[in-house]
């Protein structure tokens, strides 16, 4: 039980850290950077 709770806690901490980092780095920018696989990146459809 404790191990499961630790896993959940760790997952939540990683999520918080990741989203916090994104907020710091991205700030007010809306430009998506998706770098998986090849091919030039098209603009997003909502621009």
């Amino acid at each position: 039980m404790s191990r499961k709770l630790n896993s959940l806690l760790l997952a939540m901490l990683v999520l918080t850290a990741g989203m916090g980092l994104k907020t710091i780095v991205k700030a007010h920018s809306n430009a998506p950077v998706v770098v998986a696989a090849g091919g030039p990146q098209p603009p997003t459809p909502w621009k």
Partner: protein
């Protein structure tokens, strides 16, 4: 309109992705790093299919646009699971397989839920916004996970050179991705250059993986003292 550099980078990406799989098959590492190789095969398929969609419908078409972002999201989820399998390699001796799987699923579900919360106010193209948001969020989660894994490698004195290099290459890839975001944010006028930089970052992962699988023996070991400087 695409230039020669765009076509060259596109072709080079496909070639390097193929080289990872060929190197893994030649060195007998395909099954050892199955998730990484499946990700690379998927990435190669997406690169080729994107070219097919591009050549049939054009760069500015809705087909290319949607295929680009939807396939990117699928690949990002694939990379996330490939990274999780590296955790299983490093923490394998601690009998933590079930905990890792649970944490990975909770984290993926949490990231998806967070992505939905971010885009739920949007009125149009909700699903497309969601997949783009999810891809971006998973990259940042991947960055944190990679640094955590590096911490575990140092703590557990992991010595398998191949594994260490694979994790370091992922760390470099995710860090460069985050840095590109920051640069785009600081210097919006450099959009054209940062586009090429993003593609070069995408190239760095297959280059590093192909080199590691081809040049580094699975039995090669690094002395733990070389991984961390012990303060005197």
């Amino acid at each position: 309109m695409l230039g020669r550099v765009d076509y060259f980078l596109w072709f080079l990406t496909a070639l390097l992705e193929l080289s990872v799989v060929v190197c893994a098959l030649a060195r007998g590492s395909f099954r050892r790093y199955l998730a990484l190789n499946i990700y690379m095969l998927g990435s190669l398929a997406v690169t080729i299919l994107r070219y097919w969609v591009f050549s049939h419908y054009g760069f500015t078409s809705a087909e290319y646009l949607y295929f680009y972002y939807y396939s990117g999201a699928l690949l990002t989820v694939g990379l996330y699971f490939a990274l999780i399998t590296l955790y299983s390699f490093v923490l394998g001796e601690l009998q933590t397989g079930q905990s890792i799987r649970l944490a990975a699923i909770v984290l993926l579900a949490g990231t998806a839920f967070f992505s939905y919360l971010v885009i739920q106010q949007s009125t149009d193209r909700l699903l497309t916004r969601f997949v783009v948001e999810l891809s971006q969020n998973l990259y940042f989660v991947g960055l944190v996970l990679t640094y955590l894994l590096w911490g575990a490698i140092l703590k557990l004195r992991e010595t398998r050179t191949q594994l260490i290099q694979l994790v370091l290459s992922l760390g470099l890839y995710f860090s460069a991705f985050a840095a590109t975001y920051a640069v785009r944010n600081l210097y919006p006028n450099l959009h054209m250059i940062s586009g090429y930089v993003s593609e070069l970052i995408a190239l760095s992962l297959p280059v590093a993986w192909a080199y590691t699988i081809w040049r580094v023996s699975p039995e090669a070991r690094l002395a733990p003292s070389r991984l961390v400087v012990v303060p005197r």
